[in-house]
């Protein structure tokens, strides 16, 4: 059995496509078996809603009178990178206001940053734009202090260089002091364990060999429509193994792009991690076309078959000491406690499963209504077989 994108899109247009969320596919496979499910289903929808650093937006403000080549730009006091062109800037999710006390009063609060600016923009709130320049013959203006809204400016393009991490560490703290990390507050001596994927609903966990997701893949992004632009930074896909068992994929990432003007503040949320910094939580949903039974089998992987490595963020992670404390399944993580070093450790997610479910359902609805067709990638992303590995800095 093989299906093509064209055949699936024809069925979507005819209102005949069978679209299931990843959760629903798992139930169908349990009920009817894999082969039957693969034949029946055309598309499986996935979803994730979690803090995703390496996010940001390109903005073109439009020109002032007289003209200005903006050299330094601030949005609500948060610096945006203006070394692109006269009135273009990039606001990054983790940028902080210049007068932020940071961690000088440890642990810092980081209540507002680039991610919050993006959420305020997309919520159509007025944003204070300040800019400085040195003045040129063609761009004489040196100062600007004004207010913009998302609708006033020419373009606002969300472009996130690394999102939708395929899998992620389960973070714990083996030291005797409380630590504040991008995985949240971790209590001493294995006081808690935090993890951050939606498990069996998570997009890249359902296509481990990147057989369907590639450049151009149309996705749910920030409440609107976006596309996969490229593989994400630090895209090092692999299949984890331990004790001779397949423990599911890890390491893949996506670079995604979309028009910010059609997105929603419900799905782009400014986020603050005490003692760490600010970022942006992003809602992403990827449709997986069931082209054959193998793709269906991967898309039907359950929380019992997908594993996260447990990593000590007290000592091993900051010092970049390789290795981990073992692997735990997402089924165990979602149960609320795991066993580590003979101790029962309470677990908590940083990734919202109710929101991930809502994304998968919304995407399913859009496809069923015929308003969202699948895009065949112009090029697939590097897969585990390509053997990409990380480089590290010396010094």
């Amino acid at each position: 059995m093989e299906k093509t994108y064209a055949e699936i899109n024809a069925r979507i247009k005819a209102g005949k496509a069978v679209v299931l969320t990843a959760d629903e596919l798992i139930s169908l496979v349990e009920e009817k078996g894999l082969s039957q499910a693969a034949r029946e289903v055309d598309v499986v929808t996935t979803g994730t809603f979690a803090p995703m650093c390496s996010s940001g937006a390109f903005l073109n403000f439009g020109h002032t009178k007289p003209r200005m080549r903006m050299q330094k730009v601030w949005l609500n006091g948060v610096s945006a990178y203006a070394g692109i062109a006269a009135v273009d800037a990039y606001i990054g999710a983790t940028e902080l206001p210049e007068d932020d006390p940071l961690n000088s009063n440890y642990p810092g609060e980081f209540r507002y940053g680039g991610g919050h600016v993006i959420q305020d923009l997309v919520a159509r709130k007025p944003i204070r734009l300040k800019a400085l320049s040195y003045g040129t013959d063609c761009y004489p203006r040196r100062e600007l202090d004004t207010t913009i809204t998302l609708d006033d400016i020419n373009e606002a393009t969300l472009f996130n260089p690394r999102n939708a991490y395929q899998n992620y560490n389960c973070a714990v703290n083996l030291t005797a002091r409380t630590i504040y990390t991008y995985m949240g507050m971790l209590n001493p001596r294995l006081g808690n364990a935090h993890y951050s994927t939606s498990g069996q609903l998570s997009p890249l966990l359902k296509d481990p060999h990147f057989q369907t997701i590639g450049i151009g893949t149309k996705i749910f992004l920030g409440g609107g429509v976006g596309h996969v632009a490229w593989h994400g930074t630090q895209h090092f896909p692999s299949i984890q193994s331990g004790d001779g068992r397949n423990l599911g994929p890890a390491g893949g990432t996506l670079a995604v792009i979309g028009d910010l003007k059609q997105m929603s503040p419900r799905w782009l949320v400014g986020t603050s991690y005490v003692g760490y910094g600010a970022t942006l939580s992003v809602g992403i949903g990827v449709p997986i076309p069931i082209l054959n039974e193998e793709i269906a089998r991967y898309a039907a992987a359950t929380d019992h078959e997908l594993y996260a490595p447990v990593v000590d963020y007290g000592e091993a992670y900051p010092s970049r000491t390789p290795g981990n404390l073992g692997y735990v399944s997402y089924a165990e993580l979602k149960s609320g406690k795991i066993k580590l070093n003979g101790k029962e450790v309470p677990t908590a997610p940083l990734s919202s499963v109710p929101r991930a479910r809502e994304i998968a359902s919304t995407l399913k609805q859009r496809i069923e209504q015929g308003s969202f067709l699948l895009t065949e990638p112009v090029q697939l992303l590097p897969s585990p077989a390509d053997g990409r590995t990380a480089n590290f800095l010396k010094g």
Partner: protein, 133 residues
């Protein structure tokens, strides 16, 4: 005189000390334990109503023993518009007032179990937990 409501928080090193007994015996206080909890890490929280003339001295004694003492005149509320139900608060809330319901994985807040320690205000990534006076 109406009773004073306070929240006590203490570490594992104090959990086995009879500090409440000393409040009664040494400071002649009438004590009503409204809520008490010792979590698996042996950290304790307690909500007390105390009445008696020497309450100030009693609280000084508790502080000298390393007990954190806080007035209970505040209430924690969850801003439902801001909460995205991620769950980041649920392994940190010491009393389980913030918890995940399974299998929906929805985050619920049971104010009856809240002891206003305010840890959730700090750790909520969306700053959805607020103090109401």
């Amino acid at each position: 005189m109406s009773p004073k409501r306070i929240v006590l928080r203490f570490g594992a090193d104090i959990s086995d000390k009879p500090v409440i007994y000393r409040l009664v015996k040494d400071f002649n206080l009438v004590v009503n334990i409204v809520k008490a909890n010792v979590n698996p890490r042996k950290e304790g929280t307690m909500v007390l109503e105390i009445t008696g003339e020497q309450w100030g001295e009693g609280l000084d004694y508790l502080r000298s023993q390393g007990v954190a003492v806080q007035d209970l005149n505040q209430e924690i509320i969850r801003n439902e518009d801001k909460c995205v139900m991620c769950g980041a608060c649920t392994a940190i809330c010491p009393t389980g007032a913030l918890f995940l319901e399974r299998p929906s994985m929805e985050v619920h807040f049971d104010g009856d179990h809240c002891i206003v320690c305010q840890l959730c205000l700090k750790v909520c990534p969306m700053r959805a937990m607020e103090v109401s006076l």
